[in-house]
Subunit: 243 residues, 2 copies
Amino acid sequence: MMTVRQDVHSAGIPVLCQSCEARHRGVCGALDPDQLVGLAKTSSRHKIEPGVELIGDAETVDSYSNVLSGVVKLTKSLSDGRQQIVGLQFAPDFLGRPFKAESAINAEAATNVSLCSFPKTAIERMMKESPELEHRLLRQTLNELDEAREWMVTLGRKTASEKVASFLLMIARNIDPTADPAARSATFDLPLTRADIADFLGLTIETVSRQLTRLRTENVIRIDNNRHVTVDSLARLEQRSGA
Amino acid sequence: MMTVRQDVHSAGIPVLCQSCEARHRGVCGALDPDQLVGLAKTSSRHKIEPGVELIGDAETVDSYSNVLSGVVKLTKSLSDGRQQIVGLQFAPDFLGRPFKAESAINAEAATNVSLCSFPKTAIERMMKESPELEHRLLRQTLNELDEAREWMVTLGRKTASEKVASFLLMIARNIDPTADPAARSATFDLPLTRADIADFLGLTIETVSRQLTRLRTENVIRIDNNRHVTVDSLARLEQRSGA
DNA sequence: CCGATGCCTTGATTTCGGTCAAAGCCCCCA
DNA sequence: TGGGGGCTTTGACCGAAATCAAGGCATCGG
């Protein structure tokens, strides 16, 4: 895989989705050099501001993307405006719903996001040619399904304070640069506002705020600037996450 | 696809997973006749009683199955016993988690279930040979992901009465034999006990019972024998499901 | 420097759903 | 026929989280 990327690089083609290989979840590593070159011609990089909508509900989607950096939130809404975040995509996740013209969900940049996008048709053609690409996609989709089910437990059966603890743990695992699983502490910037966290956990902003305050007063975490979090003891946070 | 199955049939091989084709979600239709014959040799039919555990949490899984009839519930539990149903598998869904030795979830027969099972190795070998099989699996997994996200909205943002209405609608769509989408009424047997419904919706049995009673007294549904449900007006049920 | 705006926090009160407790119903079986 | 067990319903009460309402605290632009 590494050699594939280097082949492309040495051929003078800009690296496509440089972070695809990280955590083995990107899709580009599945392509052979010829395909990569072909895809690179049709792909484009984008920088996106927080709050910008990437995929609209019931809108026709004509491109797929890899998330290169930042966090994208996937949301669904009820007709009266109640909203639920149904997934967060971190680099190097794939963005888009194959085999469906319409998306049933919204995707919106939660932070500054950079994307590598390609036309739907380009990916779909390659998927026909390259079983390995479809294989990657299947693996990522299965992982996302596991994650979704994990959150169903959180949404359905955990208390507010367990939800907030679980959320912080999940973010720490995905964002903290020093994240090795055995780490005793972690530090990171929250990619979501209190309103987003509430929409993710099925709570209100007030409840999220109160639970964060509680974790702060009990010295489990510290928060600077409303965003920068230090978890002093991941173990204590885990205890509160309901396991 | 139909011809594939007939080929096998006419060759004197017992039909494998006869309902695989229904709703285009089974996996066997992806195989060519030779593969089907090969798989038929290693596959076995099972009848399973309600309550029997099919896949244990963190247990090694060495077979996959297609659900031929009945309903299988997928559950996850917290360490203190709180439980959440994270999915229901109806015929002809595929059962099993490819590419992982251990399952993170439990699978248990909710009703009488009949399965067509095959060794993990057989399927995995065929997946390597047949991109079409992997393609089917990807499609089913994407559908399951869509469903899981739909339920995340229900779990996180709907009221108890909306949850129960949504549940009844979902069951009606999956079970009612007369189910065409435009139907104004439906009738079916609940495949789950009140306790299961509660675990599915993140509620308690008492709340589920009270909400069902309310729907009954308001003449939206009728219930005989605690299981046989008649929905007099699907439209009224939809109104109560939160949209 | 001031006010406006957008988040976030905190407090008071309400409410929905959970908990606890007691029947009811059904089915099976002796 | 009657008793027991499992599932469901119903009622009374309680409590966790929602709602309602201020107020704080940065950042931005005048």
